[in-house]
Symmetry: C2
Subunit: 146 residues, 2 copies
DNA sequence: TTCGATGCAAAGCGTTTGCATACTG
DNA sequence: CAGTATGCAAACGCTTTGCATCGAA
């Protein structure tokens, strides 16, 4: 866990005139330690174990908050629901997604990003954000298929 | 409109033991002539004008059918609902999406696709499909912003 | 003590489905 | 005729919201 994620949240909250709460801290900690690409439901279930009183809505609200605070990225994959991932400061990456087992592999590729900028420039477009997903079969599923 | 799209649908239906209906043909024709990236609702509204009797569900069901028949691509953008686009046989492309006015610009870039294959190969991954979306400001909106 | 945050349940919203009826093959 | 397709409305699944209560500042 990044050493000052909780602080980063506190600062954001303070700056917005919002309040720090135990629930928000609990959710943030579980979120960070739980691994990537969680749906709201997955996070809710994980948070619920140590903190049974927590409500579904609070998880949703906190996740949106984390996204606003720059601590989480919100992504919709093709499975229809929104997943969140903890956002380390400047670590941008894209995804390989196995259509059979659901595995999600991350990758980065600077050359692709550079080409994206070329495309944008040619279209007088200013890129703020992008999303690249490759759907297919992961190594394991390819083996099993044979 | 591609000259034999209706035939292509008929063939698919026949092959699957399904039936050709006037609604399916009407929806397909409106879909093709209506331009790209339609949501089910947009298509429903457009089909409704000339064919008021048509039902919402039929549009949804037909759209899924067209996707199965290979005549349409189903995509979820970040605005939360599914959009469909008419699929010319081998015309693959990606999207620039303006976060301000909603404009969708298409592009193709072979070098990016080649690099995607490299990434996949390194991860023992077999790509079946991919999705690249660049979100940002289009030329018009950049001008207006100043 | 004020006003934002929480938890619950209900509402929203796009999409899907059950069912009686209409129509294709 | 048999069985699929349609249209309507109700159901769905994920997400958001209203409201009374709780708790941070």
């Amino acid at each position: 866990m990044r050493k000052n994620a909780v602080e980063q949240l506190s600062e954001y909250l303070a700056g917005q005139g919002l309040r720090s709460t135990t629930q928000r801290d609990q959710i943030l900690q579980v979120f960070i330690s739980a691994g990537r690409h969680l749906s709201a439901e997955e996070l809710y279930l994980r948070v619920k174990k140590p903190h049974p009183g927590i409500g579904y809505a609070t998880v949703y609200r906190t996740l949106k908050l984390l996204a606003e605070a720059g601590l989480a990225d919100e992504r919709r994959f093709e499975d229809g629901f929104t997943r969140y991932e903890y956002k380390a400061s400047d670590d941008h990456h894209d995804h390989l997604i196995c259509t059979k087992c659901g595995a999600i592999i991350e990758f980065e590729n600077e050359r692709i990003e550079a080409l994206q900028q070329d495309v944008a420039r040619k279209n007088h477009f200013l890129v703020q954000n992008h999303k690249l997903e490759l759907y297919g079969l992961c190594g394991d599923c390819r083996k099993k298929n044979r």
